[in-house]
């Protein structure tokens, strides 16, 4: 069974793991490195529960072989928290009660963080008006948020509050006392 060493950065720490070449990034994180915030939902790239940030971009860890991720910087929802302070997206989801069972939440969080940067960089979406300026940040209304988050399913149906949480972050009101409640 072909095995190989892979070194990559996970949540700020350099980690080396000896893996069977068939191991996905998701399984390496959860089963070998003890990082269990990325979740295995469908394991086929359809639900988004395994979303992490790879070199700052949101990615599906279930559809990625860990051998192909050598040297990459992987950040999971765990690594978004800094010395006890939640990332604004995490705090907004808490404030807005944007979850029920919580299984999809770490993926939702990582996806939202990556998505906000894409919009800031001017990346259009399917619902962005044609002819919008290529380099200007895209203004995120609810329709934009829903379209851009469509790769993350929530079977509890917490979408309404997930969208509200992201809207709070966009408007800079996340974490403000009693925001939107």
């Amino acid at each position: 069974m072909p095995e190989t060493d892979v070194t990559l950065t996970v949540d700020g720490l350099s980690r080396t793991v000896t893996v069977d070449t068939r191991t996905t990034l998701l399984d390496a994180l959860r089963e070998r490195l003890g990082v269990t915030s990325p979740k295995k939902g469908c394991d086929h790239g359809q639900c988004g529960a395994c979303t992490v940030l790879v070199d700052g971009r949101r990615a599906l860890s279930c559809l990625s072989l860990v051998v192909a991720q050598r040297g990459r910087e992987v950040v999971t929802a765990t690594g978004l928290e800094r010395s006890g302070t939640l990332h604004p997206v995490q705090q907004a989801i808490v404030d807005r009660d944007g979850l029920q069972c919580g299984y999809c939440t770490p993926g939702q969080v990582c996806s939202a963080v990556g998505m906000l940067e894409e919009a800031e960089a001017g990346h259009p979406s399917h619902v962005t008006a044609a002819g919008s300026a290529p380099d200007a940040p895209v203004e995120l209304d609810d329709e934009e948020i829903r379209e851009r988050m469509s790769g993350n399913l929530c079977r509890c149906g917490a979408y309404v509050n997930i969208v509200a949480a992201i809207r709070d972050v966009v408007h800079g009101s996340a974490g403000a006392d009693g925001a939107g409640r």
Binding site: M1, P2, T4, D20, T21, R22, T24, D43, H44, G45, G48, T51, R57, R58, A59, L60, C62, L63, S64, L65, V67, A68, R70, S111, G114, M115, E118, A121, G122, H123, P124, S125, H126, T128, A130, P134, D135, R146, E147, R148, M149, S150, G151, N152
Partner: protein, 330 residues
């Protein structure tokens, strides 16, 4: 999943040499292949990782065209200012496909080479002529609501799932292929085969052939282009029907038009009959409908997907109508 060796390719020629061996396969973004490894659809002995080859640039060719590297990510291509400005149909098609996470990983060449989402193909417990030649096609009498109405055969009614490829077919793009015998070019419209009596071969590529780039040449009207997709839900779903169209109208008359259809055939379907009917004719609703009807004469729907025929007609006429109005307003 069967065990495999993994090699990271250092340059395109080395990648081609490695992948020419029996049992080898290229790995790029992995969004389709890794799933196929899990499902047992693909069982390579060697994976040649081409994702870090220096093929990740979008270059403007000087004459208004673009050379798109094979490993440019779908999200980066969709956001590229020159693509958005000069070939809006391409950006729109990319953004209509998959999810944000998948577009961040999926590459230009990988998107073209993704395989059908026909449920029988994806389920190794069922027969499928594409997966196991000669085993039969349960879709013809089974579940085929999402499958082909044009160019299919009794052996396979699968559809090509890509949105991007439909836009590239309308734009007359060419793929640049590096093979054992050197470099050659293939029009995107000829890259993917029709199923005929050998659906196991999706494309005309030979083992070891590596797509290194996709080239799009500028032509009048390319900026007046659009992609329209009809699907079961508003986002993150494959096309039931889609239309990529480029329309060049002068004084109310169609000077040039290029149309490709998605979700209806084993390949992105270039609608040349419709184009032929429309060229030199008034840019009116009636003519658009006549062109759609001419193309759809060749449609051979199955009992469960006949809805696609009127859906193509209405999606095509709506797309052309919108482009014609934009032209009038300009």
């Amino acid at each position: 999943m069967r065990p495999f060796e993994y090699v990271q390719a250092t340059d395109p020629a080395a990648a081609v040499a490695l992948a020419g061996r029996p049992g080898a396969a290229f790995l790029a973004g992995g969004t389709n292949l890794v799933d196929h490894l899990k499902l047992g659809i693909a069982a390579p002995e060697l994976l040649v990782d081409v994702s870090r080859l220096p093929l990740d640039a979008v270059e403007e060719t000087g004459d208004g065209g673009l050379r798109i590297g094979a490993t440019v990510r779908n999200s980066d291509l969709a956001a590229h200012p020159a693509v958005r400005r000069d070939f809006p149909v391409l950006s729109q098609a990319l953004l209509a496909g998959a999810s944000g996470q998948i577009r961040n990983a999926a590459t230009t060449a990988g998107n073209l080479l993704q395989r059908t989402r026909c449920r029988y193909f994806q389920d190794v417990t069922t027969p499928c002529n594409k997966r196991e030649p000669g085993s039969g096609c349960p879709a013809v009498e089974g579940l085929h609501r999402t499958l082909a109405v044009l160019g299919a055969s009794e052996h396979c009614v699968a559809t090509h799932p890509s949105d991007m490829a439909v836009a590239l077919a309308a734009l007359d793009a060419e793929v640049v292929v590096l093979g054992a015998a050197g470099e050659r070019r293939i029009p995107v419209t000829e890259l993917v085969r029709l199923p005929g009596d050998d659906p196991s071969r999706d494309t005309v590529l030979e083992p070891g052939d590596l797509i290194t780039a996709v080239e799009v040449a500028a032509f009048p009207g390319a900026r007046r282009s659009a992609y329209r997709k009809v699907r079961d839900r508003a986002s993150f779903a494959f096309a039931l029907v889609s239309v990529a169209a480029v329309l060049d109208v002068e004084d109310g008359v169609v000077r040039d038009v290029r149309i490709a259809l998605g979700g209806v055939a084993h390949r992105p379907w270039r609608a040349r009959r419709a184009e032929q009917v429309l060229r030199g004719r008034p840019a009116t609703e009636a003519e658009f409908g006549r062109a759609a009807d001419a193309e759809l004469e060749a449609a051979r729907p199955l009992p469960g997907n006949g809805y696609k025929v009127p859906m193509v007609r209405s999606t095509l006429t709506a797309t052309l109508r919108r482009l014609a109005r934009a032209e009038e307003a300009a």
